[in-house]
Each structure stands twice: as C-alpha cells, then as structure tokens.
Symmetry: C2
C-alpha cells in the first residue's frame, strides 16, 4: 500500500515538473523540448548497449593495441553510419610499456613476486590475454634498486608526518604503500621527494578485497592476484603526452627529450597484488604501524625499515604510439559556431568493460538517438561533437592533446564539455562547473531511477536524508537543489575545464555496484553485467541523463547557465578557507604550546618509538577582505541575473557567447603557481592529492602548505577572478534586461 | 634541557602540594600524615612484589584448585607474620568445571575444534598445566545441540536490531559472537532471549590478536590458540554463588536447586580461539556482514544462517567447592568500630599473573608496610581489613558471599571499600563513589609516576589534554580535579557498593601495557614482567597510591568525604538523561517519518537484503522536575558543607558515622526493578551491558529500554534518594558548624 502511494507521489511530482519551464527555454519551448526528449528516450535500447559492451570489451584495448585501433574504427564507423561527420584525430604519444618487471624479497627468507593475474574458468574473458599489458604503472622511470622496505600507509603527506614522529625515514629505502586515499601518482612523487629509491603500491584486502566483500568470481571484489594498473605521471603538474606540454602531440610537434619530461616519476614504481604483498609485509619488522594504518592482511603491520630487503628491476619500452580520438560532429542548424562537446574515452587498461566501455556505450546510444532525431527533422540548434578519446588511462592523453591542438577554436566555440567515464548502479553523481548546477537539477528531476521509479533527484535526496549523520550532512540533504561536486581530475574533462576554461560536467551512477575490478584483468563483460549493472538499466538511464544535458544545451535559445548556484558554492569555499586558516592557527598554537609544556612527552609511552610532533610556524591572520568583497559583488550580480531571467527577457545577439565564455574568466594565462598548465582559479586537482579537488586552489594550497607569504597575493588573484565574473554577469543582466524592453 | 626544566617544575609542584592541607586533617595532621606516608613508601619493594608475583602465579590457581588453596594459605601466613589477625573465611560455592567440550563443523567440510591452548617453549609457565581448567565459560548450562551458525557480531542489543533489518533470526540457530564491547555474559543472555540454541564466543584478531599488535611470545597480543575463559552467569541479576542469592553460602545455608538458579545461562556457551573460529566462519554464507561488524580474519564475514552447520556438546561437573577468602584485620587504636576495607582477589583462571596477582602483590606490599608502621607505633586510628578474595573469576563469589554473610556489621562499620584487581603500566585510572572524588584527587597529586617523575595527576592530565579530540574531551581535560569514572561491575567492589551501599573505589594503571593475555594460558609471570610492567615499577606506585588511600581513610579525624564532586557528577548524569530522552525522541520522530515517507526504501539497494527499520513508539516528554529539584537541593547542601569545612569546624561525635553512611542513603531496600539484589540508585551495571555502568540506572534503563511508563516513577525514586542524601549533608553541615563554635 505504501508503495502505491509513493508511485502516485512520484507521478505527481513528475507532472508538476513537466509543467515547469526549463532554464533557457520559454514555456512553449520547454514543452517542445520535453516532447523531443520523450522521443529520444524511445531510441535508447539496453540490448544494443549490451551488445556494444560485449564487443568493445572483448579484448584488451589499451592505446597502441590492435584492439584499441579496431575499437576506434568500429566506433567511427557506427557514428558515420548514423550520419555524423567523423574524423579520427591521431596523435603520436609516448607510451612506456613494460619489458622487465622483477621483484624479489632477498631476506629474511626469499620470495619472487609472481606479478601476474590468474585466468579464471568462471570468466572466459580473463583467458583472452592477447596483447595484455602486464600489471605496471605507466610513466614509472626505469631502474634497478635494492633496499629495505618502509611501510608508508597510503603514502600521502600526513603519513610522512607520522613516519617522522616515529623517527623513520624512507631515505635510501623502498617505500611500500597501499593503494587508496589519493591518486596513485602522489605515492611515488612523495616517496621520491622524501628520498626513497623506489615505490611499491599494493592493493590491501581491507580496501577492496575480501574484507570489503566476496571476491571475484564469488562476488565483485578484488581477487588475490588482481593488480590495479594505472598511470603515475605527475598529472597535477600537467596531464597528456609527457613530451608535449601545452601543445598537441602532432607528428611534427616539438618534443621534450624523455629525460627532460618533468611528469615522469623520479623513482621506479611497481603495483602488486595482495598475494605478492603478503610475503613482503610479513617479513617486515620495526615499530608496529599505528592502528589506522593497518590493513586486512592476517599479519601485524610493521613500519620497518627492513629487515625485509627487496630487489626490484623495471625496464620499459619507451615507444611512441598513435592515439586515435574519434571525433563525430553534427552541425547545428541555428548556431553552428556554438559547440556542445560530449566525450567518454574508449581505451581500457585491459578489457575495460566498466572502465570505460560502460560509459562509452551509453554515449553511443545517445549519439545514435540524437542522430536519428536529426534525420527525422529535429536537428539540434547548436553543433554537437561526440568524442571517444583514446589514451585516457595513461594520463588523459587523447583528450588533452586534442584540446591543446584545438585550443583557440575551442575557447571560441565550446559551450560546454560533458564527460562520462564508465558507469555503475545506484545514485546519480554529478560534478562540474557550478554555473550548470541549476541546469542539472532540472534534468535529474525529469529522469527516473530504473530500480525505484522515482526521479533521480528524489532517490538521491532520500539517500542523503537517510544517511545524514551530522548537522552538515543533514543541512546538505535538506538543500532544495542538487549540489554539484567540484571537480579535481581523473578523467577527460580536465583539459577542457582546467586548461581552457570551458564549463564542464562529469556524471554517472554509483553506490550500489562497488567492485574491486578497477584497472585489473577482471574488469570484464561478465563482471560488469553480473555485479555492476545487470541488464544495463543504468546504462539506459545514463543515456537519458546525458542526452537531456546535450540536447538542452544544444537547443536552449538562452544558454542555461546560471550564477546563484555558482555564487552559493563559492561562498562556501570562501568560508572553508577562512575556517581552514582559523583552525590551522588554533591547532598550531595549541599544539606548539603543548609541545612547549612537555605534555606530549608526558602523554607518550616512553618505551615506544612514537615521539612528540615538531613545533610548526604559527599561522598568521590573513586579509580575506578582497575575496569577500568580490564574493559580495558576485552574489549581487548573480541575484540580478536571476531577476532579469524571471522578467522573461529575450537574449540579444551576443548574450549566449558572453554566457558560455564566462567560465573562461575564471582562468588566468599564468596558471597556478608552479604548474602553469592549470589555469582555472576555482577548481584544480590538488598538487598533493592528485584527483582530489582543491577549490580556489591558489589560496587553499598556499594555506595548507604553509606558504604564508603566498596567501595574500593568491587572495588578490582569486578576488580579481571573481570580480571579472561578476562584471560579466552584470553585463549579461543589463543585456537581458534591455532585450526585455 | 627541556627535561631538566620539567623535573624542576615537578619538584616545585610537589612541594606546593606538600604544604597543602589534606581533606579531613588539619595542618599539623596533614604534615604528620604525609610524613607517615613517606615512611610507608620506604617499605615498598619492587623485588619483593616480583618474588610474590613469581610464586603466586607459578601454577593455575582457580577456586577449588590445590594451588588456589595453597596460595590462600601462603597469603594468610604472610599477613599473620606481619601482625594481622587473620581468618580464612570459607564458603561452599557451586563451581561447574568442564567434563565434555566438543565442537565440530559438520558441513560444508568438516572440522573438529581443538579447544586447547598451545604450550610455548619461550614461556615455561605455559607448560605448567597441572589442574589447568581448559577453556570454558563458567555457568554455561549443559547441552548438546546441532544447528546452523548465525554471526551476531558482538551479540549486543544493537546487533540484534541490525540482524532484524537483514531479516535474519537466531531462532533455533547457534549464535557465534565476537568477544568484546560488552561483558561476555550478555552474549548468551541475548542470544537465548532471541531463541538461539547455543552461543559460541571467539576472540577476533581484530580486537586483541595480530591486528592489534605482535602476538605472544613475539609481542603481548593474543596467540592464535588462546581462549578467553570467563564467567557467563547473569551477574547483572545478582553476582556471587548462584544458589544463595542475598545470603552467605555457608555450609548450612538454604540453597536453590541448580535447576532453579536464575543466573545460570539458558543455553550452552563455549569460548573458542581465533584458530578454531576461522574454519567455522569461513564456512558461513548468507549476507555479507556490515562493514562495522567485520573482524580481522582473512575472510569475508557472512551473517548466515548457515550453511555452516555445527554440533556442540557441553557437560559440566556441577560440584561444590570451598572458596577461601583471606581476611586480615588490624584493629584501629582510636575508632576500632570504623572499618576501612581493602581488597584484591587471589584466584586466577590460569596462572593469573596479571589478573589478579599483579594487583594482589601490590596490596600485600601495602599491608606489610602498614603493619610495619603499626609495629613501630603508628597504628591506624581506624580498623583496616585486608581481604584477598577467592572465586572472583566465576562471578565475584568470594567477596559477595562474605559481604552477604556480614551484611549487617558491614553496613554499620564499613567506612569504605577500596578495590584493585590486577595492574598494568601507564596512566592512573580511578572509578568510584563520587563522595571520594576530591579525596583521590589529592592522592594522585602526591604520588609520582615512575616513568616520568611528575605526579600521577599531571601525567594523566597531559594525556587527556594531548588526546582530546572534541569539545567534550577538551572540557574534561581542562577540569581542575580528577573525575572518577562511575562503576558498573566486573570486580569485587560490586557487593560492597551496589548491594550494601558502602562507598567504594577501584583503581590501577593502564594504557601502556595492553595485552591479549586476559583469562588465557598466557597470563603468566613471563608475559607480565616482559610486556605489562617490567620491574613492577607500577606495582610499587600502586602500593603508594592504595596505601595513601587506606591510611588517610584510616587516620583522618574527619572522614574525607565531600559532596560537591558528587553533586557535580550527578548533575552531569541528570543532564545526560534529559539529553538521552530528547535525542531518542528526535531520532524516533525523524526515523518514523522517514520510514513513513518511504525514504529508506528509496535509499536502500533493492538487490540487497538490508530492509528499512521498523517504526518505534514515539518517545513522550517526561517530568524531570523532581530530579532537578532534588539535584538543586543536593548542590546547595554540598556547597554548604564545603563552606562549613572551610570554617575549620571540628567534628562532633557522630559526624564520621553520618558521613560514611551517607552512601547507604543512595540505596533502597527494594533494589532496582527486576533485580532486587542491586540496591544502589546512582550506580549499577547495565542489565544489557554487564560490566558497563548505568548511572541513575532506574531512570536510564527505563528510557533506554523504552519502558516509558516506568520513567516517571523511577524519576521519583531517584529524586527521593537524592533528597535523602541532601538532608544528610545538611545535618552534617549543621553539626560541623556547631562543632566550630
């Protein structure tokens, strides 16, 4: 009975929304657009996506492989057959592949690491191993080293603080780190900065193996032999081809020498399985690792150094391979110079069923439906570009090279970039430019969850509400509209958003299709359709979600950007920065005083190696006024724009161009300090988190890294960026208001 | 350099304290008492304690064993030799010991549990196995059962809530629970109440095995074969001999039939090791256990039921054995009718070096020093009774029978009961009646920590300060005086405090001598002196601490009870009760609404077994006014007494008796509802936590167990108890004030 009531409620709510005007459309336009979307939905087939998934994940298809090239051609042919202008944009990129991988425990005892993943009779795909790249970390440097192990937990900055308190240095040692908590490339970067001679990264069963759930093939989690491959290039410095920063890796591009490429690691790195890690970790001694460092292997975790002594030898084939980006264009019939770009990569580390093919097939279904509608007379107003990127896995290479190669056109023409990168099951998750926040909120109200029949928005809100554990989470759950998460890095939106200042978004479903297959041999069709999204129901939903985003951006008379959501999020970031400085100041003062008073010495067990922390430089007060004044102006400007929108103003000619280029004003030519490739001053991947975002990154990282002298200048820069955006909004408001009269 | 400064500071602070007046003494008396304590310290020898520890833990010495009897005699002889009047008080108590213990996995696969602990060549004591009781839970009923396993996590009430949400029942099944989070007897009690036919309790390495640290003999933690023995009698109903509730188990006491004894478990219970648990848990299926349920065995934890099917057979020898309490008396030379009782049990489950002998030898050293001083002319003013209890392990039996046997005299004469029960290394920890809070605060200011040289109080405060993680902990750390923790159960203070209303305390050192040896074969001299308190430096400190408590209580002209600390803690409990009711009300309302709105259904994965919770009866508002009015009066009375004390009033004749019997006013003849043996209305062990305390238990448990109709009447009872105490304090104040003039 309760269920019936719910369904009725859901229908009512959909009807209410259906009657509502869409951002950027008038009432008639909204009705027409929604009708178009209903027809669009009818062209989305789960069976078709399943068939593509089976085909495109049949073989390992990393960049440079024959299956990768064949997949690109297959995708291009499909898109051509539907009526797109298709180009395969080729780039010549450096891709190291392993020649020698050796790892052995020399003492105590002896163990030679197998470094291979098992084929499983239950999953035939795992026996399809032609051209399979063995487990490795792309852009590790070559090297042969021998040394004692030091266990560094996740190998992130706070772990090195802890090691220091134990009096343990990785200098001249081999760091062994768990996968997780940061992008993997941070681990060798920090280990190297701290003097380690090599890094081993292993998957602890506490994170995604038996302690997380049943392992493959009984359940979805990580098999004991499974190894997470992945790039360790220094992407927070710049992504893409390591030899051609800032320019397209065309055949004749000017290249760095390999030895000069700053994004190749300084020390060799090798990923290993739980099975290979166990003998190494078991052989370690030294202090027992702190409780929060321990994983789920059946051992007592020790930090070393040693006595476990290992030898590791890595040699790579530093070859140049061709990356094949499939670029399909459907010219807009009204504003052909305004481009909506929609992408998902096609290369996988192995079979790549989940990553990336599950997202790719949803995009293909979307592209086919869009083309079908166009052929039936409903061609989009703006130009739509579908991109299937190559070489995302080794470092966002295909998308970055294309974006760098076409930087000027893109800055002029690109309205937005919409990214997916695989899919799963569960709750909608959307990150992106906050000028698109209200836009996506409308879309998730209009798309239904396939498992429960309510809107994506309603299901998401139910989960947030039920799972809210503290006041902050309860407040978030009570927020009327979706909050987009701010984007760091980890997929192909990075060159568009953070290098070119193109408003971007990234979305998919997650929360109910967990697995440990990521970047392993076990990311197969069988695994995906059994454990992640059986029947590809969320594949269909992803097409519906992404298709609406693409089509609304392509057809809206007034582009659906909006600034109150942006201002609201920026206000939160500014608050966070001030709180961060305040709490760091309080904590530093308190801790310094406690150290001075000898309290740590009294509180610590004198028989154990843990020492008091070292005093830190006190945190001064910073002048946040410029940032807060700029924020005030931004908030007022955003409110003014909302009012103008409510006045039913019609856009004059250049309004749309000024709208979609407003994101460009969040970038500065000089980029972030120390990494000029990253030009966006609101969103960046953290220099020491990798994928993890830092909002208002110039200010935030200066505070976090205790570069106090940098904070003031960075506040000025961020303030000037917000001022520019506010000025643009003010212009837009007056143009729309004029149009209204 | 910093170290030197610290030492100087510490010396200064001791000098300052040394000049301060002690509670209950005038200035001259304080100086004399401190001089006595300095002489006392000179008689405490670590070597002597070590020798006693070696001797008393040489063999397994549970109640009923020949070593237990020999130890009692040895202790009695020592005490006699020092000049005490010594009696061995014998009680005839029921002690089941195992005849048959069988446990096998029938399917899938087959495994016969070994149920034995390994002797280790590194620790010769582990090969001394004469009369060794094999691993078992005392007061499990007999039985032979066969059934499927259900994993119930720690087997506490919230775990059964979770099981319900998974649709899993233990009805007709065998519950397998982890040790920890509650007193062990709660596990079979709840399993039985929920229909289980048996309970297995195992030690998960995540709690005190390899995941906690290196295992014995490499480190202190639990060996894979180690099994925690222990009683599962229903102590929250009543402790002591199961056949003689409320009366001493003398030879001719009227006894219940075994079948009528309510504190014997309803279903058979067996404790097993990690090694024996692994094959059982590995064979389980069903839903994957929630993340927070999982232990550290290298498996995916499943909840069942089954398919693992086991057979368990337990048969006990329900014999009557003699418990030998050693009672040593030193008659006071001024107030012989006022008794200070100091106890530690002597029986151990095995060799029992840590539990209880480490505490016992500190008490023996204290007793020897006290007697030596008495012989040298410094006989205590009040009578001191040293008690070495037998049969504590199976259920506080020795102390309970003695307390019940001597109830009337004790109520009349007992000033306070001071308990220890083993020792370790680290920080001072003191629980007890809050009328003794300021008293203990003075003592820990006067005793130095042996590792750091600062006072116990200073070291404790340093740890609280440095480890404070949230506002509440920071506030606690900043509190000027020690806070005593309120006592639940778990050692021999229970009959004195909670049955007879005698102000009690329990103390020792902990935090730096963790181990997994508790109640296993590995609780040996070797383990204790290697891993817990090498050199027994904290054994000496415990003697200094306990000796001061005993001697100050014995000698203070005005007994050092005080009521502001009591009122302050009661105020906190009253606040907690109101907050508890409010947060339960808010949570219930919110959750019921979320269930009604169908949010749980939407938030949960429809492919997984976890269901929405069931609605609960809304929590009404309760009238806390009577309790708060009584508290007000208590606070005023306490402040009045403080003022009178400050006036240097001299006690009139009966003041001391009215002081030490003030704790009696916290009890009521009727006891707590459903368990009349427990008569104290401020402190009780939780009915569903076992050892864990419930303060103002009548009210708190009525709220927690949602017996809403009981809350009001219980508030009235608690209020009347506080009123009586307040009235007593008011009388005391006026008597002292009169004495002053």
């Amino acid at each position: 009975m309760r269920y019936v009531v719910l369904v009725l409620l859901a229908m009512t709510s959909t009807q209410v929304f259906a009657a509502e005007k869409l951002l950027g459309f008038d009432e008639d336009g909204s009705t027409a657009q929604r009708a178009l979307e209903s027809r669009f939905d009818q062209h989305i087939s789960a069976d078709e996506q399943t068939e593509w998934l089976r085909r495109l994940s049949a073989r390992p298809h990393h960049v440079g492989s024959s299956a990768g090239k064949a997949n690109a051609k297959y995708i291009a042919d499909l898109l051509k057959s539907w009526g797109y202008d298709v180009e395969i944009a080729e780039y010549q990129v450096l891709l190291p592949t392993p020649e020698t991988r050796e790892l052995e425990l020399l003492s105590p005892g002896h163990y030679t690491a197998g470094l291979e993943e098992d084929s499983l009779s239950e999953d035939p795909s795992t026996s399809v191993r032609d051209e399979l790249l063995p487990p490795y970390n792309a852009f590790s440097t070559d090297g042969e080293v021998e040394g004692e192990l030091v266990f560094v937990n996740y190998g992130i900055p706070e772990d090195y603080e802890t090691l220091k308190r134990y009096g343990i240095s990785v200098e001249g040692k081999i760091a062994i780190a768990k996968y997780g908590k940061s992008w993997r490339g941070i681990k060798p970067k920090l280990a190297g900065e701290n003097g380690a001679i090599a890094t081993i990264i292993y998957s602890d069963p506490g994170d995604d193996g038996y302690a997380a759930g049943d392992v493959y093939p009984v359940g979805p989690f990580k098999h004991e032999s499974a190894v997470q491959r992945g790039s360790v290039m220094d992407m927070p410095t710049y992504p893409g081809d390591v030899l051609t920063p800032g320019i397209g890796a065309t055949r004749n591009a000017k290249r760095l020498a390999i030895d000069d490429a700053p994004t190749i690691t300084k020390i060799p790195v090798l990923p290993i399985s739980e099975r290979d890690a166990l003998p190494l970790l078991s052989a370690m001694g030294g202090a027992v690792a702190p409780l929060e460092w321990r994983g789920a292997l059946p051992i007592t975790y020790h930090m070393g150094p040693g006595p476990a002594r290992v030898r590791m030898k890595l040699k790579f084939n530093w070859q140049t391979v061709t990356a094949y980006n499939v670029i399909a264009r459907l010219e807009g019939n009204e504003f052909p110079g305004q481009w909506v770009i929609r992408g998902n990569h096609h290369d996988g580390w192995n079979h790549g069923a989940a990553d990336p093919v599950s997202g790719l097939v949803a995009m293909l279904a979307e592209a086919k439906a869009v083309a079908t509608l166009a052929r039936a007379g409903q061609r989009p107003a703006r130009t739509i570009i579908y991109a299937a990127w190559d070489a995302e896995e080794p470092g966002l290479i295909g998308s970055t090279e294309w974006a760098e190669d076409h930087a000027d056109e893109l800055k002029q023409h690109a309205v937005a970039y919409l990214n997916t990168d695989g899919n799963s099951r569960g709750f909608v998750s959307i990150g992106g430019s906050h000028t698109l926040e209200r836009f996506f909120d409308e879309i998730i109200s209009d798309v239904d969850d396939p498992q429960t029949g309510v809107s994506l928005k309603e299901r998401r809100k139910a989960a947030l509400t039920v799972n809210a554990d503290n006041d902050k989470e309860k407040q978030e759950a009570a927020r009327d509209t979706l909050r987009l998460y701010p984007m760091g890095s980890g997929s192909d939106y990075t060159p568009f958003l953070q290098h070119l200042g193109i408003a971007s978004a990234n979305f998919g479903f997650s929360g109910e299709g967990e697995s440990g297959s990521y970047h392993t041999l076990y990311d197969t069709f069988e695994h995906y359709t059994t454990w992640r999204d059986p029947g590809l129901r969320y594949g269909v939903t992803l097409s519906q979600l992404a298709g609406r985003a693409t089509l609304r951006l392509a057809n809206a008379p007034l582009l659906p950007f909006e600034f109150s959501g942006f201002a609201d999020n920026v206000a939160m970031y500014v608050d966070e920065l001030e709180s961060l400085a305040n709490s760091m100041r309080d904590d530093t003062t308190t801790r310094n005083q406690q150290i001075a008073d000898g309290l740590y010495k009294l509180a610590l067990d004198p028989t154990k190696p843990l020492r008091p922390p070292e005093k830190q430089e006190p945190v001064p007060y910073f002048n946040f006024a410029p940032l807060k004044n700029a924020l005030l102006r931004l908030q007022e400007a955003a409110a003014g724009y909302d009012e103008a929108l409510a006045g039913n103003g019609r856009p004059s000619g250049t309004v749309n161009e000024l709208l979609y280029t407003s994101e460009r004003l969040m970038t500065r030519k000089e980029g972030l300090s120390g990494r000029p490739w990253y030009k966006h001053h609101i969103y960046a991947p953290g220099f020491y988190t990798g994928y993890g975002v830092k909002t208002i990154p110039g200010v935030r990282e200066a505070i976090e890294q205790r570069n106090y002298a940098e904070v003031g200048p960075q506040i000025e820069i961020a303030a000037s960026v917000l001022q520019q955006v506010a000025e643009r909004i003010e212009s837009l408001t007056s143009m729309i208001a004029i149009g209204d009269n």
